[in-house]
Amino acid sequence: MKGSRAAGALALVLTTVGAPGCGRRHAAGDVVTVTFWHGMESGVNNQVLEAKIAEFHGRNPRIRIDAQVYGAADQLGPKLDAAVAGRTAPDLLWWAPAFFPKYAEAGVLRSVDDFIATDAGFRRDDVPGFLWETGTYGGHVYATPFSVNNLALYYNKGMFASAGITELPGDWEALRATSRRLTHEGVHGFQVPIGTAEWTVWTWQCFLWQAGGEILGPGGKAAFNSAAGVEALDFWRSLLSDGAASFSETDAGYKTDDFLAGRVGMVINGPWNYPLLASQKGVDVGILPLPRHARAATNSGGESLFLFKSDLPRERAAWEFMKFVMSPDFQVDWAIQSGYLPVSAAAAASPRYQAFLVENPFLKAYNDQMSVGRVRPAVPQYPALSAILGKYLEAALYGRYTSREALDLAALEADRLLP
């Protein structure tokens, strides 16, 4: 009896402790599964992506792309850090290239240099040079472009018409005047993104550049606390103190709710909402380049695919998908259906895409702005730099500091991290 009780206990222990170990996934046959995390929130874009992945599966029967949505891209940092530390990072990750150097520096990304060099079927020069630069750290390419975008101004055509505005704002002063004219009971002309996350930071950077400023100086230290930085931040603050602008939802300046509900006349946003805007009937959406000041500038973002280290078969399979994504075939379909801008020169120049742009002035405006697009610095400290800048931009917008004080404090904190 005693013996059987001990055996029973042992069996219990073994089943409890042993169970988690049984969950290991085995590759079925010689099919290689590539885990792919992305943050496309729009239903339409997800459908388009699924269709393209199915097409990839058809051409590559030995590779399976396991696509998983991770939610809002602005909130990915904590999840990814935890996944990397827990050794459960994906094989491929879709995220803004500004964030990859941190992981490259930590040694968890795999460079695609050798794939590019040895893959005879791949044409590197079809992708513009500046896009390769956004994926390069320490002389090696770790991230390949998926799509490009930039920021422009959405405006509510109906609201402009009823306010009798016929001249569209092209610079800061005109933006201010237009915002004032649009503002009345419950409606603001413009929306200032609020919150401490990247959205606030990367929209503000456009204004910093427009005023003639830079994020980092030639020595790699903070340079945003310049006269231009103060001017850019003062401009946002003055729109708020005028009452001509409202705050966005906290850390969600990318949401279109206030704009589509008619609560704001103009918002800064990207081309990716194209399918959403096309499917709604409430607001007649117009598009404007971002206003210029000392110069015209927009923040060119987009997403790249980061390749995480695993084993050669999986890395090679992932490269096949990266290559497929950069191909003109994928890029034309993707750009036309999702509104993202193509990363392939051949795709951008293709008659099909050009004809599409003629019919879609909304996307053409973004394409036209590419020439004044600038990119965030590719440094491993960028995520922390963004968090610091976000914190002080918000504090200044709430009047806790003057623009000068806020930017100097942010620069002081940032310089402690920067090499």
């Binding site: 219990l12 402790v17 935890a82 990397v84 906290t250 206030d258």
Partner: protein, 275 residues
């Protein structure tokens, strides 16, 4: 092997699953938390640098940390008494034999079983037109309001159980003694006899309030300008947005000390109360 030894071996084996789970999920994290708080560590890399008490020193010199402490006390100080008063009032109202009482109780309980995240998002939408969550003064009351709405039903059920455990004879005796059935019977019968329940509700409310995270994460992200950054949120922000594991763990250790002290205080008042 003697029967006795075999018996205790079996006992230890039966205890093992729980012991292993406790060791892995409670003991190990607590110890490693203390260890990490003495280091500078980037979680993407395995290497840790020992820095002694530097994280604690940096932390107490940071105004944001103290602000998070004050915010935590604000949140706890508001949600616990208000939540208890609200749920007791609801319990008294719904402790009656009237038609449809089951439906009413279910309605009040519904927010409890709603996901905090879903509820938080709905509150964000509700408050969007008035911009409460973007207002430094009103953001915390808005978060507190959502917490009260969400938790009142749970504490109400506890109070209902307490109320129904009070024998009817006390009320009869009180009526005979002339206490009536209103405020005086509540003051002299219900309140004293409900004391164990009240204490229990207070203890769990305090603990819940200290560890609250979802309302701030979903509704305000600790903002605006840190107005709703409580200690738990501060720890999260330090660890995962700024990548500063050392200071984040040091902050959790200090927070644990605070919670221990407050719980100790509660236990003492409880003992004195029952004496």
């Amino acid at each position: 092997m003697s029967a006795r030894r075999a018996g205790s071996a079996a006992a230890y084996l039966f205890l093992m699953p729980a012991a292993v789970l406790l060791a892995v999920f409670v003991l190990f994290p607590v110890v490693s938390l203390l260890v990490v708080s003495l280091h500078r560590w980037n979680i993407l890399k395995d290497k840790m640098t020992f820095v002694g008490l530097a994280n604690y020193e940096a932390l107490v010199a940071t105004p944001d940390f103290w602000r998070a402490g004050v915010n935590t006390l604000y949140y706890v100080g508001a949600t616990v008494p208000l939540g208890m008063a609200l749920s007791l009032a609801l319990a008294l109202l719904l402790n009656q034999k009237i038609r449809g009482i089951g439906i009413l109780r279910t309605l009040v309980f519904t927010p409890v079983v709603t996901s905090s995240v879903a509820a938080g998002i709905v509150f964000v939408w509700l408050l969007a037109p008035v911009h409460w969550l973007q207002n430094e003064t009103l953001a915390m009351p808005a978060v507190i309001f959502m917490t009260l709405w969400k938790q009142a039903g749970y504490n109400m059920v506890l109070f209902l159980a307490g109320l129904q455990g009070i024998p009817e004879v006390y009320y009869e005796a009180a009526t005979l003694d002339g206490a009536g059935s209103g405020w005086r019977s509540f003051r002299h019968v219900t309140w004293p006899l409900l004391r164990p329940t009240t204490f229990f509700v207070m203890v769990i409310s305090v603990i819940q309030a200290f560890r609250a995270f979802e309302p701030m994460y979903v509704m305000t992200r600790g903002g605006p300008v840190g107005a709703t950054t409580t200690l738990v949120y501060y720890v999260f922000d330090r660890a995962f947005r700024f990548g500063d594991m050392g200071q984040a763990t040091a902050a959790s250790v200090l927070m644990a000390v605070l919670v221990l002290a407050i719980t100790g205080l509660q236990m003492r008042t409880r003992k004195e109360g029952t004496r």
